[in-house]
């Protein structure tokens, strides 16, 4: 490699660009592997709710590990900016803890560690960013999704706006002790601290080695050229897209502090000839006295992930490709730029999903072959934060579990990736093993499976929702969840049907079901269970355009019932999947298919 590097000022050729890109990708991949394998919180080691990012000294997003889109498209760059503003004296061995949604953070549960890469001459070259969602962040209730929080004070999380947590590679124990005094299950937090900081340090070590090997100037040239290359790919992709302007509304259900629900309005304009996509979010409600407000990082990321989902090509996501997206946001807007002390406790999921889903659906409505339907809304109890105290866990336990979520959105090219989780997660999350959870926690999983007919009908089918029933085996268990989609079903696109709504109940020892609120900290006594229905996802295209053979397969495999096959798809088929051709012809003629 050292031999291949061109003299100063020369452009890198295509092969050199590709190789350096691979080297940098593998550094971020290595960081991610460390975080996944060593993280303690379920949300890290199961849901992969973390990201590892490389940012330039000019605070430009250069590379991201393959991780949750809602985490990585914007925010790391803004956090690095805050770090440089607050700490103009960066030294090798520094590291910063950052979780402030008012300074580029996503939401306070996402503890982020920033490690500046300083070369041998003391020059700041890059910043390694490792962001890791915590099981607990010191909120006033044991959940990291405090939907009912009136403001940041009611929310209760400790906020760290780029606070120096290491100097000279040594921990700042003052900060560590503050966290230990406020965060539940502090050993778990400490383990996550080691994991995330370790990940940033591994990245730093590798970047220092790469800089020494190929030269920092070469890396700078690489970054510039890579941004240009990515921007060019983005322009080409947008050039092919159908042009026009579309306004889409998506509703978030009524929640405490947002009793009327939240109607998100997204205006998307695609201008193919200019290679530009413009998104306006200004005509939306002001920030609300609840935890659903988006941070700026989440607002922008949710717009961008809707756009990248909508483009069939593979375009690198970095500062270069992001140049082609123009966003209009305003301060003090529920989907904009929050003003302290607005709470952003649930900024990465619920309302962010409304924005992302609206964007991809708007693009779908501009032309067939583009965009996607809406993915299911979350966070159902099966993905809730469980807490309690038991002998089994040697005292208190707080952790998010991932017992099952589906609800993928149909795309023009394929049926949904069923287990998408939610649009911001993109299916990266693992689904917990029943055995693993029953071993770790005092709980019993009575059942979990996908729900027939819960996916939106369409030419391509939306993903099914998950039924999950579980309860404590020792003492009471609290389950914290914020389940959107109880009322507003995930929409289909271009004539596709809606996904099924979410729902939740408590089952008492007699087997009777009791309705639970959509946003709650439910107490489930021993002997009772909580029953969770997660949303389905929307379908794409008219159902009668789906081939009868595919529908027969869906019926045989129990994704679609015989009745829905007949009434919605216009296919007469037996439960065993045998098609009645004549009857199907009649049904489809009647549907105009």
């Amino acid at each position: 490699m050292a031999n291949d590097v061109p003299a100063n000022g020369d452009k890198l050729d295509g092969v050199q660009l590709a190789i350096l890109n691979k080297r940098i990708q593998s550094i971020c991949a290595k960081m991610a592997n460390t975080l996944l394998r060593t993280g303690r919180s379920g949300v890290l080691n199961s849901a992969r709710d973390f990201s590892c990012v490389l940012v330039t000294a000019e605070n430009q997003l250069l590379n991201v590990s393959e991780s949750l889109p809602i985490h990585v498209l914007r925010g790391a760059d803004m956090m690095c900016e805050a770090m440089q503003e607050f700490h103009p004296d960066l030294k090798r061995g520094d590291a910063f803890l950052h979780n402030s949604p008012y300074h580029g953070g996503s939401h306070p549960a996402d503890h982020t560690y920033l490690a500046p890469v300083i070369d041998d001459d003391g020059i700041h070259r890059f910043t390694m960013v490792a962001k890791a969602h915590q099981a607990d962040c010191g909120n006033s209730i044991p959940t990291t999704y405090h939907g009912g929080a009136r403001d940041v004070y009611h929310e209760g999380a400790l906020i760290f706006p780029a606070v120096r947590i290491q100097s000279d590679y040594q921990d700042n124990l003052d900060v560590v002790r503050m966290c230990e005094m406020r965060i539940r299950v502090p050993e778990q937090w400490w383990g996550d601290y080691l994991a995330a900081l370790g990940s940033a340090r591994i990245g730093e070590r590798e970047m220092l080695a790469l800089g020494a090997e190929v030269g920092w100037d070469t890396l700078n040239r690489f970054a510039e050229q890579w941004f240009d290359y990515s921007e060019q790919l983005m322009i080409t992709s947008i050039n092919r897209m159908p042009g026009g302007k579309k306004v889409i509304h998506t509703r978030h259900d009524p929640f405490p502090g947002a009793e009327e629900g939240i109607e998100v309005k997204v205006e998307v304009e695609v201008r193919p000839e200019e290679g530009v996509i413009e998104v306006d979010l200004r005509d939306n409600p002001d920030c609300l006295p609840c935890g659903l407000n988006l941070s700026q990082a989440c607002t922008e990321s949710s717009v961008l992930l809707g756009i990248f989902n909508a483009i069939p090509e593979d375009v690198p996501t970095n500062a270069g490709s992001l140049r082609r997206v123009k966003m209009h946001l305003r301060e003090n807007c529920v989907v904009g730029i929050p003003v302290h002390p607005t709470s952003c406790s649930v900024a990465t999921t619920n309302v962010a999903d409304c924005v992302g889903n609206s964007v991809q659906r708007a693009i779908a409505e501009l032309g067939d072959g583009y965009g996607m339907a809406s993915a299911g809304a979350i966070i159902p109890p099966s993905i809730g934060v469980i807490s309690g105290s038991s002998e089994r866990t040697d005292g208190a336990y707080v952790n998010q579990i991932f017992l099952g979520w589906g609800g993928g959105a149909a795309s023009p090219q394929a049926d949904a990736w069923i287990s998408i989780g939610h649009i911001g997660n993109a299916g990266g999350s693992y689904q917990d093993s029943v055995e693993l959870d029953e071993m770790r926690f005092p709980l019993h999983v009575a059942g979990r499976h996908f729900i027939t007919d819960s996916g939106g009908a369409g030419r391509t089918r939306g993903g099914e929702g998950v039924y999950c029933e579980f309860g404590p085996t020792q003492g009471d268990m609290e389950v914290g969840y914020v389940s959107d989609g109880n009322h507003s079903a995930p929409e289909g696109a271009r004539g596709g049907g809606v996904g099924a709504c979410a729902n939740q109940f408590r089952r008492d020892p007699n087997g009777d079901l009791h309705q639970l609120d959509a946003c709650a900290q439910a107490v489930i006594p021993e002997g009772h269970t909580i029953v969770s229905y997660s949303c389905g996802g929307g379908g794409y295209g008219a159902p009668h355009e789906r081939s009868a053979e595919q529908v027969a397969h869906d019926v045989r495999e129990k994704w679609v019932s015989v009745d829905v096959a007949k009434e919605t798809y216009g296919v007469a088929v037996s439960a065993a999947g045998v098609i009645d051709e004549a009857a199907t012809g009649k049904l489809r003629d009647a549907q105009g298919g």
């Binding site: 490699m1 593998s26 290595k30 460390t34 996944l36 394998r37 060593t38 993280g39 303690r40 080691n45 199961s46 992969r48 393959e66 949750l68 050993e187 400490w190 383990g191 080691l194 994991a195 900081l197 370790g198 591994i202 990248f308 989902n309 483009i311 593979d314 375009v315 959105a409 795309s411 090219q413 394929a414 049926d415 949904a416 990736w417 287990s419 998408i420 993109a426 299916g427 990266g428 693992y430 689904q431 093993s433 029943v434 055995e435 693993l436 029953e438 071993m439 770790r440 019993h444 999983v445 059942g447 979990r448 499976h449 996908f450 029933e469 045989r556 495999e557 129990k558 994704w559 999947g577």
Partner: protein
């Protein structure tokens, strides 16, 4: 005398080792519809060469070790048995939900994978065992019998059973097995606890599903192999290579055929390790095995062959997890038979489609029309059309040239030689990419490793690959053309036994742990006394699968002894965990206690002493000229020296451009590179002269 036969997609390789250590190799075309025919054909070739009748040759054999792609081919082509899945009531979607996870977050053109066993063949059994092994809900036998009746109705050919927590209490799974025996006799089944007693129901269920679906087919294959070899006069032991790089008796393999999934490629690194050490003293090597259809990369790191714990058939999250660890091998569709084609945008591609054994490359003259890497090599003058497979097969250069010109040259506006050279360049780039993928994953810098070329087509671009990777040395062993088969001869008998038992270092359950370790050791001893009887050396190694509290991904920590007898030894295990964690992840939490979830015992029985081979090439009647015209991208047409591999003196050096040929392989030494014959007989290539 010992035989090793490796059945690949295009060729079947045979290596014969006689009692004096003399080794000979043979190749025959693979017959996809009857792979055993290829095995017998190679034995025919060997018999002719030894001047014996086939029964007489076979009668001399003590052992035949077989590597086969039969199982993986059946899975990839969807030809496995119609298999049903029986699981705990309430949890029918274990194989659908899997463990989640997805690659390429923004790519929604890839559909969600179909479960390995369809939902329509999945049945829920009323029963439930708790995490501690106690029964929460008794097994409803009447319901099981009704389900079995339904299975009969739907004509299932195999059954996979995975019940929750069967790893701590197998009573229900066992009883379901008995009921299957009773009510569905003759239909093979797999019980998850017996096959793969590990935590996490998806992995265990997936293991059972894959295994059961292979049983009818692999039972028949193993039976056929055994009986046809017996009929042919072989009276020795038939072993089959496992995915873990060991060997097991064919009859045992028929009982758990999942272990044969990556049978062939797992052997190459065994041979690679031996040659890397013998020829360069290196303990880090990249083994690149190029056959007709696939290019398989494996590694040796610090003298050990790295494994992967999570083995997927197909891509991660899009394919199916086998639930077993395996020798880490990366395979791509690239080889001598890979087809070159130009897409609508004018971009040249090579592979993954292969001309395979039938019809084969255009130059075989057997009906192939699309140009391949082999055709390009013939056109470039690298492969001698009159000396292919030692002159036993003559190649049609004209047909190859025509195909390259029309399918590639004309579309790119290239002349014939330019087009052929471009095909090789793209093939090289594909291979380099595959190597980079696996080395990055395993944390190996290719520049510090030696490159070992194996397989018939390895020599064509081994110099080019070494240059691209920055390797200082590339080695082509004299047995390279049958590297996997050679590795099979170096393999040990292996078995692995495991158990799930949760405990932590703070409150270590010594009694139950030692009980489990004693049981695992007993299983190993039984293996040694059974299949391992008569082996030269037996090694049992124990490992703990451990993690920090509230982590969920375990790492493996070797135990210092066979039991954990004292508090000091528990502390030792804890220290070893911290050290291993730090080695892998660069961090350790020294304050923390450690949880142990699983325990494993590995038993290895060594079948032979160190390898001291003397490879004999079948003599060829064909006269080969000293030089011929060949084309190289950087210097164009040039007169290249031509040498016979077996005639090259030990210690002799040749400067490129040169072509070194044997009956089974062609090694191209590019201009600017050089090659030396080592003491062991390998060809050592220095990709950059003076480097």
């Amino acid at each position: 005398m010992r035989f090793a036969v490796d059945t690949g997609g295009t060729f079947t390789d045979l290596v014969v080792e006689d009692d004096s250590g003399e080794v000979r190799m043979y190749k025959a075309a693979t017959t996809p519809t009857d792979p055993i025919k290829g095995v017998l054909d190679t034995l025919d070739a060997a018999a002719a060469d030894y001047g014996l009748a086939r029964p007489d040759l076979l009668a001399k054999g003590d052992m035949l070790i077989h590597g086969t792609t039969h199982a993986i081919n059946a899975i990839v082509t969807g030809n496995t048995a119609r298999t049903a899945f029986l699981t705990t009531q309430g949890h029918p979607d274990i194989l659908v939900l899997r463990e989640g996870g997805r690659i390429e977050p923004f790519n929604f053109t890839v559909p969600y994978p179909q479960p390995y066993i369809p939902r329509s063949l999945t049945h829920e059994i009323p029963e439930r065992i708790k995490y501690d092994g106690t029964v929460r809900e008794a097994l409803d036998e009447k319901a099981v019998i009704e389900i079995i009746a339904a299975l009969k109705e739907t004509k299932v050919e195999a059954v996979a059973v995975c019940l929750l927590w069967s790893i701590v209490n197998a009573d229900h799974e066992r009883r379901v097995g008995e009921l299957l025996d009773q009510h569905l006799p003759g239909v093979p089944y797999t019980l998850s606890h017996a096959l793969n007693p590990s935590l996490r129901e998806y992995r265990r269920a997936s293991s059972a599903a894959i295994d059961a679906s292979l049983k009818p087919l692999m039972g028949e294959y193993m039976g056929g192999l055994d009986s046809r070899l017996r009929d042919a006069g072989f009276a020795g032991r038939v072993l089959v290579v496992t995915t873990q790089g060991g060997a097991m008796d064919a009859a045992d393999m028929a009982q758990s055929p999942i272990h044969s999934i990556n049978s062939g490629p797992a052997m190459a690194p065994l041979a690679g390790r031996t040659y890397a050490e013998a020829d360069s003293g290196a303990d880090t090597a990249i083994i690149a095995d190029t056959g007709g259809t696939t290019f398989d990369v494996s590694l040796v790191r610090g003298g050990r062959i790295p494994w992967t714990r999570e083995t997927w058939i197909g891509q991660p999250y899009r394919g199916h997890m086998t639930g077993f660890p395996a020798v880490d091998v990366k395979s791509i569709g690239a080889g001598g038979g890979s087809i070159a084609w130009v897409d609508e945008g004018g971009l040249l591609h090579v592979g993954p489609k292969s001309a395979g054994a039938v019809p084969g490359p255009v130059c075989y003259g057997a009906g192939g029309t699309e140009p391949t890497v082999t055709d390009a090599s013939v056109v470039l003058g690298w492969i001698d059309p009159d000396f292919f497979l030692g002159g036993t097969m003559s190649l049609d250069r004209e047909a190859a040239a025509k195909a390259i010109q029309s399918h590639v040259g004309d579309k790119l506006g290239f002349g014939l030689h330019e087009a052929a050279a471009a095909i090789l360049s793209v093939a090289t780039e594909n291979m380099v990419h595959a190597i980079e993928d696996i080395t990055v994953n395993q944390g190996i810098d290719p520049r510090g490793a030696v490159l070992i070329g194996g397989g018939g087509a390895a020599g064509l671009n081994v110099t080019a690959i070494a240059r691209r990777l920055g390797c200082e040395r590339a080695i082509i062993p004299d047995i390279a053309a049958a590297l996997s088969a050679a590795g099979a001869l170096m393999s040990d008998l292996r078995a692995e036994y495991s158990g799930t038992l949760y405990t932590q270092t703070a409150s270590f359950d010594r009694e139950r742990v030692n009980e489990l370790l004693a049981r695992l050791e007993g299983q190993c001893r039984e293996f040694i006394a059974g299949p391992g009887a008569g082996s030269i050396e037996q090694i049992i190694e124990f490992t703990a699968e451990a993690r920090y509290p509230s982590q969920i991904w375990e790492i493996e920590v070797p135990l210092r002894g066979n039991r954990i007898a004292s508090d000091e030894e528990v502390a030792g295990l804890r220290d070893d965990f911290h050290a291993t964690h730090e080695e892998i992840f660069a961090i350790a939490d020294h304050k923390s206690e450690v949880e142990i979830v699983g325990w494993r015992a590995n038993v290895r029985c060594r079948l032979r002493d160190g390898v001291q081979w003397n490879v004999q090439e079948a003599a060829s009647e064909v006269e080969v000229p000293d030089s011929r015209e060949a084309y190289f991208s950087d210097i164009g047409l040039a007169e290249a020296r031509v040498l016979r591999f077996e005639d090259m003196e030990r210690g002799a050096e040749v400067a490129g451009p040169a072509i070194i040929e044997s009956s089974f392989t062609t090694v191209v030494v590019d201009p600017g590179a050089s090659a030396t014959r080592s003491k062991s007989g390998s060809l050592i290539i220095n990709p950059v002269s003076g480097g």
